[in-house]
Structure formats: C-alpha cells, structure tokens
Symmetry: D2
Subunit: 221 residues, 4 copies
C-alpha cells in the first residue's frame, strides 16, 4: 500500500480526532464558545501566523528546485498578503485592535507549537517541515468541514460564522488540495522507517494544535 | 554604564526571582517536594538535556573563530560526556530506568523551552543563542546557591541533597564563570536597541524555565 | 561618525571598485564583451537567482517582526515573480532556452558566492545576511550607473543595452533605495567590533561578485 | 540491490577517480609535488578544518537521537581535539606558523566546498550533510590507500610521508569505518529518487574536493 496523507492521519487517528473535534471547535459549531475563549485564541493566532510565515520562509530556503520554491512562496504569500489582513480585520470585529496585538505576550502553547514546527524544519528536510505544518493548513479545512456536517451546528446567527466560512472558502480549499498533492507525491516513496519518523512529527504537531484550542478554553476560565 | 549579565538579570528581576525561588525549588530546599513531582521533572529533564546538547552543537556551528568554537564544544562535552551520565545514574536512584527515558512523551513545557532556545539560535546570532541558554546554565548555579543560603533548607537527610550538590560542584561553577565572562565581554558592546532585544529573549527564556518547574509541581497533582 | 552603507563600501573601496568597474562590466559598456562570456554569465546567473531567492526566504524566516518580514518578502517576490521571468526571456534572446538552464552544471564561482551568502545568514543574524546580499542588490545599480556615466559607453546598437536598462529601471532603483535605508538604520547603531565583522563579510562578498564577472570572461577564453 | 556507500561512489566513478588519483596526490606519492603547492594546500586546509568542525556541530544539532548525536560529536572531537593540533604542528614543520594561519585570506576553492557542505546540511537532513562530508572523511583514507599501493610511490625520504601516514593511522581508519557503517545503514533504505538526489550531492562534493587539490597545484604556478 502506498503511503499518503491519509495514511499519516490514520496512523494518528486518536490525536487527529481529538484535534478536529475538540470541545473548542464544538463550541464554535454550537455557538456556545465563551467570547473570551475566542478572543484569546484570536490574539494568539496572530502571533501564530507570524511564526507560520517564518516557517514558509524557511520552506522557501529549503527548496531544491523552482517548483518547490514557488509552492512554498505561494503559501507564504497567502499568509502574509491575505490571511494576516483578514485576521487583523477580524480581530477588530471582536474588539481587539491591531496595536494591542503587537505587544501581546506569547502564550506557552503558541511558543510550543510554532517553535516545534521550526525546529522540525531546521533539523530535517523540506518534507519534515511540511508534515509539521500540515495539521494547521489541512486540519483547519477538516475542522470547517466537520462543523458543516454536524446536525448540532448552529447556522442562524452563529457569531462564529465568518470564521467557519474563512476555512470553507474556495481559495483556501485550493491551497489545501495543492498541499495534500505535494505531500502525497512525497510520502508515496519514503521508506517505512522514514514514514514512522514523519508519523511521530505529525502526531506531535497534531497534539500541539489540540493544546492550542485548549489554551483558548482555559482562558475563559 | 556597561551592560553585562547582571544588567540583563536586573532587567528581568521579577521573572528571575520567580524562577530561582520557585515553589518547586523551595520544596527541594525544604525537603517537602513530593516524589512524583521530582520524578516527572527528572524524566523531562532528560529530554531537555538532549535538546540542550543540540543547542550547543548549533553554537559550535555558529562560532566565528576557534575560541568561540572551543567554548561551545566544552559546554557540549560537559552535557553529553558528563551530565547525561550523571542524570541517567541519578534517575535510576529515583526508580526511573534508562529504557523508560527513551520512550518518554515530551511535555509541552519541555517542547516550549527547548524549541524556543533553538529558534533564538537559528533566527539570531551566537549571542542570541547564548542568552537564551543562560537561564539554564547560569540559573541552576544560582538556584543551588539560594538553597545553600536559606535558613529553611534541610541539610540532614534531605533526599534532594545530591541534586543540590551537583550544581555546587566546582567543575560546574567553573563552567558557569566561563559562560558569564563570555556574555559580559559581548554584552558590554551592544547597542541599547540590541540589548533590549536580548532582554526580551532572556525574559522569555526565564519565564519558560519557571514553567518547567511548575510542570513538575503540577505532575504531583 | 555614524556608520552606514557608504562607510561599509568605503572600508572596502579597493574591492568595491574592482567589482563595479570590472573588465567584464567595461566590456558591456564598450560593447566589446565576447558573446560567449555574456552567455556563460547569463546561464550561471540563473542558478545564482535561485539561491538568492532561497536567501531571501531565509531572511523571511530570520525576521523579528512583520516590518522586517514584509521587507524580505518584497525582495523575494521581486526575484521570483519578476526577475526570474525577465531573466528566462532574456536568456532566450541570447540563444539559451529554458530547458537547458535546468540541467546546467553549477560553476565553482556560483557555488562559492551563493553558499557563502547562505552561510553568513545561518551563522549570523538578519543583518549579516543583508550585508552579504548587498553587493549584489545594491552593486548592480552602481554598475549600471557607472556604465551610464562613462564617456566610453556605446549607446547606439549596444547589444547589452537591455541588460544595462534592467538595472536602471525605476522599480529596481526603488528596491535598492529601500535596502540602503534598511541597512543605514541598522548599521548606525552597531559597535565598532560588530562593524569590523560586517566589513569582513561585505569585503568577501564583494570579492566573490568580482570573481563571478571573471568567470564570465574566462569562459570566453 | 541494496544501495550503500559503494553504490554512491560507483555512481560518480569518474569524479571519484579524478579526486582520489588527482595529480596533486600523485605528486605526494612520487615526492614531486612542489613545496609551495603543499604549503598553500596546508594553509587552506586549516581554514577547511574550522568549517568542517562547524559542519559536525551542525550534525550534532540535526541528530534525532543520542546515538546519532554521539556519532557526530565523536567526529567533531576528532577534528577539534586531535586533527587541529596535528595540523598546526605539521604546518610548523613546513614553515607555516600558527599566527599566520589566523589572518589567512580564504581561497575561493575553500569557500566553495565548505559552504556547499554547510548549505547541504541546512537545506536537507542529517543524511544530506553526511553525504556531503563523506568525500573528505572517507576519501582521504582512500587517497592514502591508493598511494600505499602504487609502485611509483617513493617510500624512502618522501617529505610527505608523515602526511600519508596520518590518513593510514588506525584511529583515523576506525572513524572512517564507523562513518561508512552509518551511511550504509541509512542508504540501504532510501527510495531511488532520494538516492539520485544524494548522488548529485556526493558528485558535487567530490568535484569540489578535486578542485581543492587543483588549487594547491595552481598556487605553485
């Protein structure tokens, strides 16, 4: 059997489900998430995006040819030229002004996940870096998809609707498809030992994503 | 006034004191720390040492001349050739066998601090890396010194005596003096803007060290 | 006296002049450069651009805030989204098709300069990386300026006119001004010891740029 | 067929032979190499060793477990604690004092090879780094072996005898065996596409080693 992104996900199905269907996500779906939880999440997610942009910059550096380089640059541009702006505008709607974002102390959960990803990238090769980034990029599309399919999801006057829609946007889904394709091509040809190594990275990254949701919940006390 | 390591410490005095005199440390001093708290700390500290060895390897890479390179290599050898062995032997005394250390899941606090240090090193230059490492290397000597000077410290049958002594050992203190000297020489000539940058790094690293003690306490429930 | 980019250049005036007014450049100015010299240069410059794009990706990673990150990203986009395309089109005019560029063996001069820059970036901080990149980005504008002011310059039917114009283009000069400003702000506040370090980097990078011109001349043998 | 170090070597047999049996090496074997050629080589080899020590420091950083880390640290210690000293002492015998080594301008050939290796290490993973380092570590043993087996080799009063013996020393050969074993284990399980990538790295590194010999010859005019 060929390995691909689904094999990777299935090898960590417990952690993956705990992340995709985390109580924080259920709270968004059911419109029951306390506002302070979401606000704390949004603030830390701003810092998160900065380090993710740095990670895609590192991916540009680690590319072996122009195809790889352009693929990483596209993801970098999506974050800096599109998502950062949307995020800042979105924060404003939730009462968080941009100036306050700049002086924000970084939560331990943000530090742990972002720096873990960067270290995976420096220690390993471009594939290690992509695998460490995948739970974020690809996971958010699955989160939005899961919300969309739940009967419990509140679709009328859900204050989190714009957030959900952001990750169901066609441009976003196209970036997700490109990334899955990139991963599938490379995962197909790694050895079992290498795949085991990448599975550990993916599992740890997924665990740290779930901890990031939990940080939001904890902030609401 | 010339900047040096003390200036750096004084610029973060709240965080520094919260780290050096953390309840975990007081518990060691007063022999009241619950055994599971110490055991959890010891296990995670093993993983910590591996990433610190990696950080000193990175410092070897980032050196600009043989003096800098030898200084980093000395610290690397101290960790791998001396401290790792002591640590494994010491874990055994506390009922933690070496095999179990290899399969240990890494706690978020360990991930956060170690990867933060490594990212400081990759993003900045050798001085950024040393400053991020300093709360550990130099701080542990201050921790042991603080314990030694407290009237509350239990000095008879304190189960943590060997741990305290490890960081009052003359070889360890010599390494600490070398590191302070290295930092003092370099901090003396940086600009105020650069010093402010390094202060932020030092403060964050100190905060993450305190969180590492807290992780131990939390493990004891 | 405040240090700035001009101080840096003046500290390496011999090497800088040897680079800006290299016989290869004079040959372009006077329309006497042998075609094979220019073709070899163009081919290797394609490989050069790939590694320079990687270097700006590294600069994105090494940024400490969004301003720094956007500045590096702008330079990265200029190379990948603009210069690469111009370069490939320009190569075609000189009889070099794109497919042949992909299998090109990398000359030692290309290897030496590009990997030197990348190592400066990894070993040091963002300023080290920019200083190592400056002889290329800023130097090419000075090269084109020098050509424009020489009485010997052939301005009618000079086969190299399009190349000269590329580096007198207003967009290019704007990128150069931005980069000089960035450098001037940071160089103003470094210590003399640090400035000496950066001068060595700048001198070596300039020397390697001159060797890159020489490689072109040698190819025409 | 399993891939191993020999497969790698055979895939680059032309470049490998051009390196191992380079006229510079033949000159050592036949005691005909001009003294200035050897002196220039020795001086640049001192700079080479510094960057190779940095490369093994990077390998320590990139290690995934303590076995890998100790293996890299052993190689790092061999260079810094043993070879550097031998080299400096050896330089002295050839009339090159240590002080002069510190101010040496770095030749383009030294820059090209050392920075290429470091970039391979940063861009790829630990295996890429080892493969880029292999022509040096393992190649020198083959060079000494080739010399030992040639009928043309001058064995009486050959001024280069001590140099030849250095790479036939049992400790050195043991380090070479350890490294081959390390490579064989990892090469056995990579995919054909990955092996092709590593072959390119190995071929380029071998080519740059041959250019390093050539630099010595060229210095003798």
């Amino acid at each position: 059997m060929l390995q691909n992104f689904d094999t990777l996900k299935n090898a960590c199905s417990d952690q993956w489900q705990a992340y995709i269907q985390h109580p924080f996500v259920a709270g968004i779906s059911e419109a029951t998430l306390p506002t302070p939880a979401f606000q704390h999440y949004l603030q830390q997610d701003y810092l998160f995006l900065i380090h993710f942009a740095r990670a895609w910059g590192l991916a540009v550096y680690k590319s072996r040819d122009m195809n790889e380089l352009r693929h990483s640059l596209d993801n970098l541009k999506t974050i800096v030229d599109t998502e950062m702006g949307l995020h800042v505008a979105y924060c404003r709607e939730w009462g968080i002004d941009e100036a306050s974002l700049h002086d924000l102390p970084e939560a331990q959960e943000t530090l742990a996940y972002t720096r873990f990803v960067l270290d995976c990238g420096h220690r390993g090769d471009l594939l290690d870096l992509h695998v460490a980034l995948a739970p974020c990029l690809i996971g958010y599309a699955e989160v939005a998809e899961w919300i969309a399919t739940r009967s419990q999801t509140v679709t009328v006057d859900n204050p989190y609707q714009a957030w959900i829609d952001m990750y169901r946007d066609e441009d976003y889904l196209e970036a997700v498809r490109r990334e899955r394709l990139w991963l599938d091509e490379r995962l197909a040809e790694v050895s079992p030992a290498r795949f085991a190594q990448l599975t550990t990275t993916f599992r740890d990254a997924t665990r740290l994503e779930a901890a990031f949701w939990q940080m939001g919940l904890d902030a609401a006390g």
